[in-house]
Symmetry: C2
Subunit: 217 residues, 2 copies
DNA sequence: GCTTAATGAAAACGAACGTTTGTATTATTA
DNA sequence: TAATAATACAAACGTTCGTTTTCATTAAGC
């Protein structure tokens, strides 16, 4: 399941006779590898992180690493799935996608997105930096996921325009801008470190909302 | 001059006895190397671009490349100087830094910055991606240059606040947001390709201004 | 004409890389 | 307990990397 969008084939561990307990422990170990490797990718960059680094960080023997993953690239792919999965799950679970009123929905989506982008700041920065490394196919899939997030905002803005509460010239453009703005903390943490999480969330929410609903704030 | 902030020592070509013509041709060739290498860095990434690639692209023999530059890293450093230099030159030459009225100055700086970020979209994207590769010292210097751009906007907003024409809660935060927004086209070109240059510039200017001067637009 | 700079081609360097292999060890199952 | 599958490990593979070196040639400056 975890390599549905990654890698080229099944890893050695997903043979037929494996019990459920074994599969679980296999996936758990794979997740550990991805998590630890992600931290290294974030700190040093993908190209500057060697499989030997990952071996040391996980405590798993270099050769044995390849029992759990097919390639270094696959680790990056698996790492890329973390963020959007968490975001979509949060939106669904909280029923934010079903809010009818455009203003309320915009505020709810925005708040959730800001919280997620803040908490995944490192992963997002890594995604900005390392997208190019992904194989073409997976890169496209990743950009498409981002495109869905943009479309979500675009649709809300269009609905707000229709009901007369927004007056945004170009909803598509505005949506693109918002999704970029969501990455503020990822891309400017070196300059924004003095704000607390809550300070940042409030300020960002206010700033972004003001460009869509100027009169309300 | 060109390696004032890069590399560790003087290259072979900048010895004492070299004539002015020789120095000029030396620097010209160095600039060609940096330019061609930049294109490769943009297309394939720094780590994925080998010195042999650069040799092929420039037509300069691999060993001979090291006559003009000290290291691969130095090429990246020199490439990083392109953008901010162009921006500062434009601001000075057009006298934008001397505009007294905050609204007029904001508009002028914004327009100039938008034009520059559009024209240097590839270089900026590369900077986002490859900053980490730079040696610590030069990375700091680069972030400081970005910090100056932020401060420029911050000061304008503060002046606008004082004269009562803006009402921005946190000028520092707003300035950071603006400078991020300037990178929209660099970071979202894959989604914004359908806009012409002028369409993009107008839309971006309007969107950014609206968050600072909501009532005017 | 002598010296020095510039250009070119080729080979070599040691280091580091991702990945594979063969073999050992441990756990599970029948 | 014997057989089988899952996991672990060390060593090695072949390649590529940034960089240096060597040698030969042409152009320019005093």
């Amino acid at each position: 399941m975890s390599d549905k969008n990654c890698g080229t084939g099944t890893s050695s561990g997903s043979g037929k006779k494996t019990s459920q307990r074994q599969q679980q422990s296999f996936q758990k170990k794979q997740a550990v590898i991805v998590k630890k490797a992600s931290k290294l990718f974030i700190k040093k960059g993908y190209a500057q992180t060697s499989m030997r680094d990952i071996s040391k960080a996980t405590g798993i023997n270099l050769g044995n690493l390849y029992y759990y993953i097919n390639s270094k690239e696959e680790i990056l792919c698996l790492a890329f799935n973390t963020y959007h999965a968490a975001m979509n799950e949060a939106l669904e679970q909280k029923g934010i996608l079903d809010i009818a009123d455009p203003v309320e929905q915009l505020k709810a989506v925005l708040r959730q997105a800001l919280e997620n982008t803040y908490d995944f700041k490192d992963d997002i920065l890594m995604m900005y930096r390392e997208t190019r490394v992904l194989p073409r196919k997976i890169m496209k899939a990743t950009l498409e996921k981002e495109g869905e997030a943009i479309k979500l905002f675009e649709d809300i803005i269009i609905r707000g325009n229709q009901s007369g509460v927004f007056r945004v010239h170009d909803p598509f453009f505005a949506a693109n801008m918002i999704v970029l703005q969501l990455s503020l903390y990822s891309l400017r943490r070196w300059n924004l470190g003095d704000y607390t999480r809550e300070e940042y969330l409030d300020l960002a929410e206010e700033t972004i909302l003001k460009s869509i609903i100027p009169e309300t704030v």
